[in-house]
């Protein structure tokens, strides 16, 4: 296992052309993930989590303009012709998307869908690919894989479909697995099984994982590092332990407070007042300022706070890294 990042993005921005003008979905983010490691991307809906990984791997919509640098296994992807990016992506990155009910093609057998990446990138023959598909379905815990390989997606339950999607993502033994809210559409028991499955596969295969989620419980359970996103920017990032025990941005504090009590006490859910700004009209200053419980000097409104270190590898984007308790700074 090398120290080199499997995937690293630097100053990534994504601007999407919409009818109402350019929308800044991602406004300059940096993160990286090493082999065997799990990076969690968390943040509210619309904060740019999905768009940042899609843009990094060349899957952004055609209307999007992507800038910044992306290194996959040391190869600079930005500026690479689309064809090469396609090959790199298929060969080295596996994706698991949110909704297994819609992310599988209804008219192709699951076997076909699991094998096609192997045929394309590893040059497997139809027959070898099929054997491999059975193997993969077995690996992700699908019972009687030799028969199920010829079944169609609608013949599987949601949890089983997500296992198929995971098998598909692992088809080329990728160096990186990107899981975009892979458990959101599943029931609680199945969620736990899928999380366990991915964690187990990661241990066995040494894959790097980028895990996008709203579930901070999952982050605490499986991630090594975490990046908290808000309105297209990272507000806080660092090792999970450091960020969870010492949240240094008011937004992180609020997110952690908003987490439902895992012990199931009848506690009311703490929510953050207000909503994030529109990506069509990002403020010049801190995007969280209007909702910030600290709401310090007018500085926050007009000036973008820099990402500053509060500890080793632990960075936070605020002028007031120590005022996380709601006290108004002076």
């Amino acid at each position: 296992m090398s120290d080199r990042a499997v995937l690293a993005v630097e100053d990534l921005t994504v601007t999407i052309g919409t009818r109402r003008g350019p929308a800044r979905a991602v406004a300059g983010v940096d993160w990286s993930v090493r082999a065997g490691e799990t990076l969690a991307l968390v943040g509210e809906s619309g904060s740019g989590k999905s768009m940042s990984v899609l843009a990094a791997t060349g899957l952004a919509p055609r209307s999007a303009r992507v800038t910044g640098r992306v290194h996959l296994l040391g190869t600079e992807l930005t500026g690479l012709p689309g064809e090469d990016r396609r090959r790199m992506r298929g060969r080295h990155v596996g994706f698991v998307f949110q909704d297994p009910m819609t992310s599988l093609n209804p008219v192709l057998t699951v076997g076909r869908q699991v094998t096609e990446a192997g045929e394309e990138h590893l040059g497997l023959t139809r027959r070898a690919a099929r054997a491999r598909a059975v193997e993969l379905l077995d690996l992700v815990g699908i019972p009687s894989p030799a028969e199920r390989v010829d079944a169609y997606p609608h013949q599987f339950s949601g949890g089983m479909r997500q296992r198929v999607v995971i098998a598909m993502a692992l088809a080329c033994e990728p160096d990186l697995l990107i899981a975009d809210e892979p458990t959101t559409a599943l029931d609680v028991t199945t969620q736990a099984q899928i999380v366990e499955l991915v964690a187990d596969l990661q241990r066995r295969l040494g894959t790097a994982v980028v895990w996008i989620t709203h579930d901070l419980g999952v982050v605490a359970g499986i991630a090594d590092t975490v990046a908290v996103m808000y309105a297209g920017r990272i507000l806080e990032q660092g090792p999970v332990d450091a960020v969870f025990t010492n949240p240094s941005h008011p937004y992180t504090t609020a997110l952690l407070a908003a987490r439902p009590d895992p012990d199931g006490g009848g506690d009311e859910l703490v929510t953050i007042q207000g909503s994030p700004p529109s990506p069509l009209d990002l403020p010049a200053g801190c995007a969280f300022w209007p909702r910030c419980p600290v709401r310090g000097a007018a500085r926050c409104e007009h000036e973008l706070p820099p990402l500053v270190p509060v500890a080793a590898d632990h960075h936070v984007r605020t002028f007031y890294p120590h005022h996380t308790d709601g006290g108004v700074p002076t």
Binding site: T57, L59, R86, R87, M88, R89, G90, R91, V93, F95, F97, D99, T102, S103, L104, N105, P106, V107, L108, T109, E116, A117, E120, H121, Y152, H154, V165, M168, A171
Partner: protein
Amino acid sequence: MARFVLRRLLQSCVVLLGVTLVVFLLLQLVPGDPVRVALGTRFDPQTYEALRARAGLDQPLVAQYFDYLGRALTGDLGVSFRSGRPVTSIVLERLPATLSLAVTAVVFATLIAFPLGILSAIRSGSFVDHAARVFSQFGVSVPDFWMGIMGILLFAGVLGWLPPSGYVALTEDPAGWASHVALPAATVGLVTASILTRFIRSSMLEVLSEDYVRTAEAKGLRTRVVVLRHVLRNALIPVVTVVAVQLASLLGGVIVIEVLFAWPGIGRLTYDSVQARDYPVLQGAILLVAALFLLVNLLVDILYARLDPRITVR
């Protein structure tokens, strides 16, 4: 599958039975006495009564219907009032002309519409897309007879490449048939193609935004594979119905075009027998068209089940 086909065939027969009843009753409601028309100026009461009796028109309606149905089951659809020839053979004689025109037109239309529709969807907003949209707009808004006339003027008149009208049987002279079918088929086909292009485009666009297409792209498949294997297969499902409806409606005969190009098809036959109040022939023609329609429907259902595994055939 065999049971499915058998059941659908039975259903079709029931529908066809309904069609005979409706056609039979409708024609009773049409004003005008066919025998009187057939006799024209040679009218005299004796011949009139004799002809009516021969055609069974003096019997009560119910008896007339069952009599008709019974004979229809044995393939006897009566005789033409006008020519006295058996309706079955009159109608079947027209089938090859209509069939070959309809099939050629649909093949022509799909050859244009598929590439155009697919390209305009995957390159939406591009030049091809705009061109395709202008083409479809043109095709659906310009009347087919006008296009036919322009085609005749250009290809038969100015260029002299094709005969202006007429029909040669495919079995007798394939080259002659081809040169005669080209203009009417292209005329009808252009209209069909423009309807199809639109439909394929929107169906493709809808599928292109599906999650599983992103999944396919995420796998790093070639664009061609994504489009053909993942998008088209799904986009095809609703398109099949439209192609079938188009084909079925062409099988009913394209009256204006058949008249314009002197094409002896079923449309032309329908037109002529309405003019002549030749009810037996009209009934026969409608019955044949209905049967063809049901057949196309059955084929579509089978194709559907093949394309979409979620449809279970029982």
